[in-house]
């Protein structure tokens, strides 16, 4: 998986590309660290439009990011999911927990 981040208003948008899977666990700490210094109530948005594949470990990482955002008073949203990534999120019922935007 490749990722990039850029400021978006008071918050941050993280763009994910490729495959988000169990071998990407090492990136999780960095993705959490990006939340530091964001003002409370700002949006930590994940642009998943470039994501081709996600496995159960990748979904677990999204849940951890949701928990970490909540602890910091941030609003986490996921945008642009498609194809197999959308199916995996819906199958695991992650969309009951994390805000999914078009």
């Amino acid at each position: 998986m490749e990722f990039d981040s850029h400021p978006a208003g008071a918050g941050l948008t993280v763009t994910l590309k490729g495959r988000m899977e169990f071998t990407d666990h090492e990136h999780l700490r960095t993705l959490v660290r990006l939340m530091e210094n964001l003002p409370s109530a700002s949006v930590y948005a994940i642009d998943a439009g470039g994501l081709d594949f996600i496995d159960s470990a990748g979904l677990g990482m999204l849940l951890i990011l949701e928990e970490e955002a909540e602890q910091r008073g941030l609003k986490l949203v996921i945008r642009g999911i498609r194809g197999g990534v959308r199916r995996s999120i819906e199958l695991a019922r992650i969309d009951d927990i994390i805000t999914i935007e078009p």
């Binding site: 169990f22 666990h25 159960s56 470990a57 979904l59 995996s88 199958l91 695991a92």
Partner: protein
């Protein structure tokens, strides 16, 4: 066992393996017994139906594209050589100019199988070579899967492979994630275990067989297994583990866990 192993220098058709491919891949007709066992009962390919070898033994540098190419057209069995090669056998001097790789004398003789391919990789290579994606790439190239069916098979196979690597060969329990900051512990364990010479050499074995409208895939690891009673039966968005089996059970026509959790069999209907 009679007969000498037939070992020939082999140059893969593409550049993905290594420019110095004579030293990283050889054709042979013997594979580890555990791999050969997955092909028991599979008929041999009819003679004259292609240039596939029975098996190819590869060294370092295997990636997804190289693995795909080997599985789709070069060999029925793909075996990664151990990091510490077994004692030198006696490759046929008429076929091989000492390519540096040779099958173990105790391995089992195989022939080119019909409608089956199988691989045996170290955990080290399984971590980087995306074996589930490569298997599905190869099945698409062979016309077994189409674009619609591929996604379902890949997700299920990927989950079985991830379980085999992380929970099986690397021996990391899902419980490592089940407490605050658990992901830090999980990440540390992954790094430590992947660097462990014993664990990184443990094998991941995958066999895919297609016949009579069914695709059957078997994934085998060399870990300690697990308690099958702990597997979740349904999706729970909040759970930190077990979601992979939920995927497999929802999407595959059949999921069978055997050998105390060291073996997962997946079945899919081919349309």
């Amino acid at each position: 066992m009679t007969g000498r192993p037939v070992t020939g220098a082999f140059r893969p058709s593409g550049p993905a393996l290594c420019d110095n491919s004579l030293r990283v891949a050889v054709a042979c007709d013997r594979v580890p017994p555990a791999l050969a066992a997955l092909a028991v009962g599979v008929p041999p390919a009819p003679p004259g139906t292609g240039a596939r070898r029975a098996a190819i033994l590869v060294g370092d540098g295997l990636d997804r594209d190289g693995l795909t190419r080997l599985l789709a057209g070069e060999a029925g069995f793909v075996v990664e050589a151990d990091e510490s090669p077994p004692a030198a056998s006696s490759p046929d001097p008429g076929l091989s100019p000492d390519p540096g790789l040779s099958p173990d004398p105790g391995w089992t003789r195989v022939v080119v199988p019909q409608a089956l391919f199988a691989l045996s990789l170290s955990t080290r290579t399984s971590w980087t070579a995306q074996p589930a994606a490569a298997v599905c790439d190869a099945l698409v190239l062979l016309g077994v899967l189409d674009g619609d069916s591929r996604g379902t098979v890949e997700l299920c196979l990927h989950e079985a492979v991830a379980n085999a690597i992380v929970h099986g060969n690397l021996g990391i329990a899902s419980a490592a994630k089940n407490h605050p900051e658990g992901y830090e512990t999980f990440g540390r364990l992954l790094s430590e275990r992947l660097a462990d010479p014993r664990r990184r050499r443990l094998r991941l074995t995958v066999a895919a067989r297609w016949a009579d409208g069914w695709l059957d895939i078997t994934v085998v690891d060399e870990g300690q297994g697990f308690d099958l009673a702990l597997l979740p039966r349904a999706a729970d968005g909040n759970s930190r583990s077990g979601r992979g089996f939920v995927f497999m059970r929802a999407l595959a026509a059949g999921v069978d866990v055997c050998d105390g959790g060291r073996c997962t069999r997946l079945r899919f209907a081919l349309t």
